[in-house]
Point group: C2
Chain length 193, copies 2
């Protein structure tokens, strides 16, 4: 494999696995089967990506482009992302089994230093018609937007070119202390980033 | 169990497991056996916490304080944190096996939207003699400090009362776009939060 190929596969495995955990906890918090289903779909995708990565690592070891230990390290890091993805599925599974979530479960997620929120973007919000790249919300509020729900469309892991529209519902995570500022911006109560 | 007890155990499992992943990737990036060892130590702690949580959930189900499905959901969420902790150990294991890290592995971590950094706090930094709670770095820069190395002392998952000293080495993670501001603050090149 080209080094770039291995690098981008490993990176994608890592990021998708972490996204899955956020989606899974969100599915529980907001009782969303749709988000839980997405975790399952991403898991299938991760499985095939993981399989490809392992094949390529071994092929490269055979060709002498990677040392045995290097190939093993790549496989092991891929495994760890796969394990995190499995953990996310375990969480999503709780949602899909349709168990009424005991308040202590919800609280244990929301009491964390890092919280998850869901908020609608109002017409007069400074976010409207701006891209995530322009807003730099993670830098300016601490909160990362990981899902946008726009009408019936769901946008997972939106990139920096994604432009926010009035009425969008944002799922975001970040430090508890950044929550208020983020929510005020989405609601249009505060206009300064 | 009291509800508070289950809640705080689940929360601690979740947060410690996530901390372990950050520590594990940091151990690889900065070739630190010390951080990798800490991952192993936390894993032992998580194992016993996880065991206690499961016992309590079943005991409470027996007493009729929890529905069977509720007890199962608690156990399952505990499992998912345990799985994430196992994934972290898998990553730390790569560091402990003393394999020379191939540059593509390091790059695949650093190319992520969420990056990890290690930076020394200079004498004239605005951070000096301020607590993490005062600085609100996660809110103001997007970057979370998850380890402070102070001389020979390592402070893991520091709380908001922890006061930063000149010479501290901070390990932090956050959005790539927040990195520059955070580093400038630590170096004293920028004085405004």
């Amino acid at each position: 494999m080209s080094e770039e190929e291995a690098e981008s596969m490993l990176l994608e495995l890592k990021e998708k696995a972490e996204l899955m955990v956020d989606l899974a906890y969100s599915s529980l918090l907001y009782d969303s089967k749709k988000l839980a289903d997405e975790v399952y779909e991403l898991e299938d995708y991760i499985d095939s990506l993981h399989y490809e990565l392992q094949r390529l690592a071994i092929d490269d070891a055979k060709k002498g482009e990677l040392e045995t230990d290097e190939a093993l390290a790549i496989i092991q890091l891929g495994n760890s992302s796969e394990m995190i993805a499995d953990a996310a599925r375990e969480i999503a599974d709780v949602e899909l089994r349709d168990v009424e979530l005991h308040p202590i479960l919800r609280d244990s997620i929301m009491e964390s230093d890092e919280v998850i929120t869901r908020i609608e973007v109002k017409d007069n919000s400074i976010m409207v018609n701006k891209s995530l790249g322009e807003l730099e919300l993670a830098k300016n509020t601490g909160m990362w937007v990981f899902v946008i729900k726009r009408g019936r469309k769901w946008i997972y892991d939106p990139d920096k070119n994604e432009v926010i529209k009035a009425g969008d519902i944002l799922f975001a995570k970040g430090p508890k202390e950044g929550l208020e500022h983020f929510i005020s911006l989405a609601r249009g109560e505060e206009r300064e980033l």
